[in-house]
Amino acid sequence: MNADLEREFSEFVEARSHALFRTALALTGHRQQAEDLLQTVLARGARHWTRIRTGTPEAYLRTALYREQVSWWRSLRRRREVSAAQVPEVAATADDTATVDLHLALRQALAHLAPKHRAVLVLRYFEDRPDSEIAEILHCTESTVRSQAARALARLRDLCPKLEILTIPKEAVGR
């Protein structure tokens, strides 16, 4: 990469790293893992900047974030590191105690989901993507997306009984 391209890449990262890091945090739930995930994907983007800069680099990198996170070789690395720092808990503000408790329990339950299940939930509920786009990003069929989402929610309910007080989203059974 020449100096001009490097400057352009740097400006892109400075401008968009906040948005990409938010996705990485939602995907991993761990600050350090989110940093490593984002840096891995950005390093790949840097190497291929000349090719991706003319298209939609943020969309490319966002897709790469999801695919990298659900890859099985990455799961090996996650499991074998001693430190798995959790995202710091957010201080309670105006929320009532029940809501804070529910969110805390939900965060803990999310930490026990398989990466692919979690990725489907992030794409659906954090990015509000339709199943067709989720399927494209995760390289699977729409029916797989629906089944993965249903399983993820079922697992969440197992892990987090507090969710029983809430209603089931209709999209969990197909949309």
Partner: protein
């Protein structure tokens, strides 16, 4: 707050996404990482040229030698061959491959005759204890191939035994659907310490169906044994690990809480080869790999994830009683690899490009039981998914720099 689950999820994801600002120095760290990967790619490119020559003279089809390059230059020098060596760097990222396909990773396997690492085109590679064979995995069943496996979990699509004498891989046959296989919710397999069997931990969706598979590396005959504890006592999802005598397994127990949530580590259970429970010792940290038993089997190194900002630690416990012998405080997150002898551990630390004065490169550290580093070795490749340690017996003197 919304009154349904989707609303709760949206709120929680938003909270997580806002919980930390982007890391400082992301641009230089990213560019530095990209440059290092480019250097690695160029080195690998030289290796590939050597492959073509090797093929012409009829060398192993599956093995790609790295002549010179990172593998030979990586380690620091030393006098004589020390007892231990990294026998494989498994799952090394290939920067030439840009899509997240299975070809994204390869492995380096120790060539014991020549005292160097050879490249194999598999994202998983674990050499047998004597170094004559390698357990390898290929493919990725996490996308679109889940129907073939027992449960559709993420893992390789095929696992086999590579014979280093002739370069042939014998892939483990796939039993009919419904029969536990080496696919699905299993680990990638582990050689027994005596090299006579390969263990796969099997954790399907239905916890009660959990168990393990033993594969005979000679015949590839697979035997399944049920072990429901893997599902009911193992909310951390850890695998079985071989005990040092190859006569059984150990499992870190983390039973569910009364609320159905993931529980804390409560102990380590020991089983014989049939899955019969022999004994349980108390523990508050996890035993993740067979190499975490010390060489004579009397000690175990145990670890547990720690919250951000907290100091990571390794607990050294008595393998018979579970009693804590020592707690080793570490200064930064590491990956524990195992023991080099009864008094030293080998850990992997990641380079720190952000802290002034810190080492930017990854390193293998031999640390004593007080946590002091006594030797630093540069890995042949940075950030492999897994590394395996073995005896350096039989290595030529030229490999002394790879040993510890």
């Amino acid at each position: 707050m919304s009154s349904d689950v989707s609303g709760a999820l949206r709120n929680v994801f938003e909270e997580m996404a806002d919980s930390a600002p982007p890391p400082a120095g992301l641009v230089p760290a990213t560019l530095g990482r990209a440059r290092r990967q480019r250097v690695a790619r160029l080195t690998v490119g030289g290796g590939l040229a050597a492959v073509l020559c090797a093929a012409l003279v009829g060398l192993l089809g599956a093995i790609v030698p790295l002549t010179g390059g990172a593998a030979d230059q990586a380690a620091t020098g030393g006098e004589g061959v020390l007892p231990s060596v990294v026998t494989a760097y498994s799952g090394v990222r290939d920067p030439k491959v840009t899509d997240p396909s299975p070809a994204f990773n390869y492995s380096l396997v120790l060539n014991r005759k020549k005292g160097r690492y050879d490249r194999v085109p598999y994202p998983f590679a674990m050499p047998s204890p004597d170094g004559s064979r390698v357990l390898v995995g290929r493919g990725d069943n996490s996308r679109g191939m889940s129907g073939k496996g027992a449960s559709g979990g993420a893992g390789p699509t095929e696992v086999g035994v590579l014979d280093l004498a002739n370069g042939n891989v014998r892939w483990i046959p796939t039993p009919e659907l419904g029969v536990p296989t080496v696919w699905g919710y299993t680990n990638l397999g582990r050689w027994s310490p005596d090299g006579r069997q390969i263990l796969f931990t099997y954790r399907p969706r239905t916890a009660a169906d959990s168990g393990f598979l033993l594969v005979d590396p000679e015949t590839l005959r697979t035997t399944f044994r049920p072990l429901p504890d893997l599902g009911t006592q193992n909310t951390h999802g850890l695998d079985l690990v071989w005990t040092p005598g190859s006569d059984g397994f150990a499992l870190t127990t983390s039973p569910e809480t009364s609320a159905g949530a993931s529980g804390n580590v409560t102990g380590i259970r020991f089983y014989d080869l049939t899955g019969r429970l022999l004994r349980t010792v108390p523990a508050s940290a996890s035993l993740v790999e067979a190499g975490w038993f010390s060489p004579n089997g009397s000690q175990m190194a145990l670890t547990e994830p720690v919250p951000v900002g907290a100091q990571p630690k390794v607990t050294v416990a008595d393998a018979e009683t579970g009693a804590t012998r020592q707690v080793i405080a570490l200064h930064r997150p590491v990956r524990l690899l195992g023991w080099t002898d009864e008094r030293h551990l080998l850990v992997y630390v990641y380079g720190d490009a952000e802290t002034p004065g810190a080492d930017e490169r990854d390193a293998l550290l031999v640390v004593d039981l007080a946590g002091q580093t006594v030797r630093t070795i540069r890995p042949a490749e940075e950030s492999p998914q897994q590394m395996f340690i073995g005896s350096s017996e039989g290595l030529p003197g030229s490999a002394a720099k790879l040993t510890f």
